[in-house]
């Protein structure tokens, strides 16, 4: 159905923009700043914090580009959903524990709040919807016809 293809396009490009912007906002700063922001969540050992701080922005960029181009859409939609669910879970954990920390979602200076949780929740829903729509089609394609 035509509307499904348009919806896939909108979700795909929207999520791609989010991931590319998130990557850019982290890559333009020294990576150790992002490492400190991850460390503030208090969920990972230092070696994992260092690895994640170096790798995650590039991973987000690659994922954003994959979503934008529509290549391996099913796989990239699943990965995006999983990643966003993890982000949402750690943010929710920090919020409920009352940690006064930076979200570090798009650069720095944004504390975890109901607003950031709502935003991430909407992204999770969008990504899950994209995954469902991508699997609902017989052949995933990059553009609507």
């Amino acid at each position: 159905m035509n509307w499904r293809r348009w919806l896939v396009l909108i979700l795909r490009v929207g999520l791609a923009a989010v991931f590319v912007y998130a990557a850019w906002s982290k890559l333009r700063q020294p990576w150790l700043l992002f490492a400190m922001a991850i460390d503030a969540y208090g969920v990972l050992p230092e070696w994992a914090v260092m690895t994640l701080a170096r790798a995650l922005p590039w991973f987000e960029l690659a994922l954003g580009l994959l979503l934008l181009t529509g290549f391996w859409l099913r796989q990239s939609a699943i990965i995006a959903s999983a990643l966003l669910v993890v982000f949402f879970a750690v943010m929710l954990r920090s919020y409920t524990k009352g940690l006064q920390i930076d979200c570090a979602c798009f650069g720095f200076g944004e504390a975890i709040s109901l607003k950031t949780l709502l935003r991430d929740g909407l992204l999770v829903l969008s990504s899950v919807a994209l995954t469902a729509l991508a699997f609902g089609r017989t052949t995933p394609s990059a553009t609507p016809t």
């Binding site: 700043l33 922001a37 200076g109």
Partner: protein
């Protein structure tokens, strides 16, 4: 502790805040290190915030020994009492009052060390004064009523708001006019790596 006091005395003779350009008495009282240090770190903190206690005890102490004492970092404490912490503002005022008689570090130490206690019973004055001699305690109890003390805390809050501070603790690291804000109880090891990276630039 003695090193901190020594550095504070050193600062009192030099003083100032690189990122803000000018200096005033409350800033000098609450700063440690040499004004000309290549890196300045402003710490926006709330005495009632558990993460601030962690940062103070596990990060700022080794930072003072390894970088501030060696003239590489200039450390400025800024009060940013959060509205949800009922006694944080009073604690900031007592720390500033203690700073007026050269006991800022002692007040910080005891406020963070006994955070759970005074946060629960509200006995901020007794906590700070308990770490001082009777004559010093009397002076601090008188000074805390000084409107200038309250004004200095308000000034720090305004500086924080202007710098985009939303939570505590927040560190604003300034190096070569570039500002890097970091929030949370930053681990010393990561902060050390970051400072070293800046210094080798």
């Amino acid at each position: 502790m003695s090193r901190l006091v020594l550095l504070l005395c050193c600062t009192l003779s030099i003083g100032g805040v690189p990122s803000q350009g000018s200096k005033s008495a409350p800033e000098i009282i609450k700063s440690v290190g040499v004004f000309t240090a290549p890196i300045s770190i402003e710490v926006f903190s709330d005495f009632q915030c558990p993460s601030c206690k962690l940062l103070y005890e596990q990060t700022l102490r080794p930072l003072t020994d390894d970088y501030v004492a060696k003239g590489k970092v200039y450390l400025v404490h800024r009060d940013f009492p959060l509205p949800q912490h009922a006694h944080a503002r009073e604690a900031a005022c007592y720390a500033c009052a203690a700073g007026r008689i050269g006991k800022y570090e002692a007040a910080c130490d005891v406020l963070f060390k006994r955070q759970d206690s005074w946060a629960a019973d509200g006995k901020v004055g007794d906590t700070v004064c308990g770490a001082l001699s009777p004559s010093e305690a009397k002076q601090v109890r008188a000074l805390v009523k000084d409107p200038q003390i309250v004004a200095s805390v308000d000034q720090d809050i305004q500086l924080g708001q202007a710098a985009g501070v939303r939570q505590t603790p927040t560190l604003v690291i300034t190096y070569k006019n570039q500002r890097y804000p970091i929030s949370g109880a930053v681990s010393y090891d990561l902060l050390r790596r970051f400072i070293d990276q800046l210094l080798t630039k």
